[in-house]
Amino acid sequence: MTMSSVPFFRTYFLLISTIFLTIPMIQGWAEPSTKEKSYIQLSVRAIQATNPISDADSNSTTKQTVVLDSDLRDLEQKLSQLPFGNFQLLSSKQEVITLKSKNSIRLPNGQSLAFRPMYLDAKRVGLWLHWRDGDGSEILNTRVHFDAAESVLTGTDCAHNEGLVLAIKASAIAE
C-alpha cells in the first residue's frame, strides 16, 4: 500500500509552522529590549477649550492671549498651538491599571475613553485609545507611542465652537 505524499507533507509543514509561530506569541509582542512594568498609572485630563481664535486673528500681528488653569501649566506649550483662547480643566482622573489590560473611564460630558497600555518602559509607552461619544459613536480610535514623561493630547470639536481636549499621560509604578 503506497501512501500519498500530499497529506504527509502538509501535516509536517503545518506542524513546523505552528511551532515557529507560537513561540513569539507566547513571548508576547512587546519589544525585546524594553523592561516592562506590570502596573502603570494613567492620568487623563479633560480640558475644555473655548473662545476660538479665527484664522484672521491668528495671522494678525497682535498678540493673542491664551488663558489656562494653573493645573494645565505643563501643557501650555502644546495648548497654545490650538486655535482657542481659553482652556479650563474639567476633570482629572487617574487610574492604576495592569499592562495590556483594557480599561475605560467616563468623561464629564458623557463621553468615554477606553484604553489599553501595550507596554511601558523608562522611555516609551504604547497605548491604544478608543474615544467614544455619549451616544456610543466613535470619535477616535488609534494606537500611539509616545515618551513616558510626556502627555499626548487629542481633541475634538464640540458645540458652540468649543473643543474638548484630552491630555493623557502614563507613568510607571514601582512594584
Binding site: I16, D69, N141, H145, G155
Partner: protein
Amino acid sequence: MVAEKQINKSSMGSSPLSERNEFLLSQFHDGECSALSALAARVLLAVSKDAREFLAELREISSQCSQHGDSLSAESVSLWSRVEARINQEEQAAFYLGTRQITQPKDSTFQTWGARHIILGGVSGAALASLVITVAYQPARLVTFSAPSAPQIAQPRMVQPVAIQRSSSGSNRYRIRSARPRTTLEVDWMRANGSLKLIPDQNGSSAIIWVRRRALRTMARQLPSHVGPTPLSISTATPVNNKKGIGVKNKEVTR
C-alpha cells in the same frame, strides 16, 4: 540408477528400534547431530545390537551409493547446452527489453520517503515562519496623515537636515545625527469620525491629534464648566448653572 537396497527389516527380524532411534542413527551416520545426540547414539550402539546392525546397513548403503555416484558422474547429462541456451535467451531479452539490472534491496518505504519529506517540510515551514515573524513584528512606524480640508497641516515628522560623522574608531561606520530632536509621538494607525488633523508643537517633535467631526451634533448636554478654585483632587467636575462661565484665570500665556 541407484542400486536400491532397502534395509529389509524382515531379514533382521523384528527390529525393536523406534523411528526416533533410526533417525538418530541416521543423523549420527551423516554427522549431523549435536554432541548430546552423538553421545546418545553411541550409548544406543553400545547397548543395542539392532542399532549396530542398522548403522552397518546404513554404511553399506552409503558406500554403494557413492560407488554409483562415481559411475553416474561419467554418464551425467551435460548441462552446458542448457546454460548456453539460457545465456542466449538472456541476450535476446536484453536486446528487446533492456539490460537486466540488479536493484538494491530497498529500505523501509516509510523511512526513506518520510525522512525526505520531514526535512523538506521542516525547512519550508521554518522559512515561512521566519518570514511571517519578520514582517509581522516590525517596529511601529509613524503614519503620516494629511487631512485635505486643513491646508495648514504640518506633519510631525519632516525631513530634517542630518550630519554624517565618521566613527572615531576609524572604521567604516558612520553616525547620523539629526539636527532636530526625534519625534516623540508615533502613530500606528488612526480612525476617526471625521477628518484628522495633526497639530505639531513648537519643537515639532510631537503633535496634537485633532478630530474635526463631520456632523457636529447639537449636543443635548453642554460641556459643564466650573466656577471657582480649580480642583486638584481626583474627581469629576460638578456641572454648574452658568454654562458659559469662565474659570479662574491664574496664568496668562502670550502667544
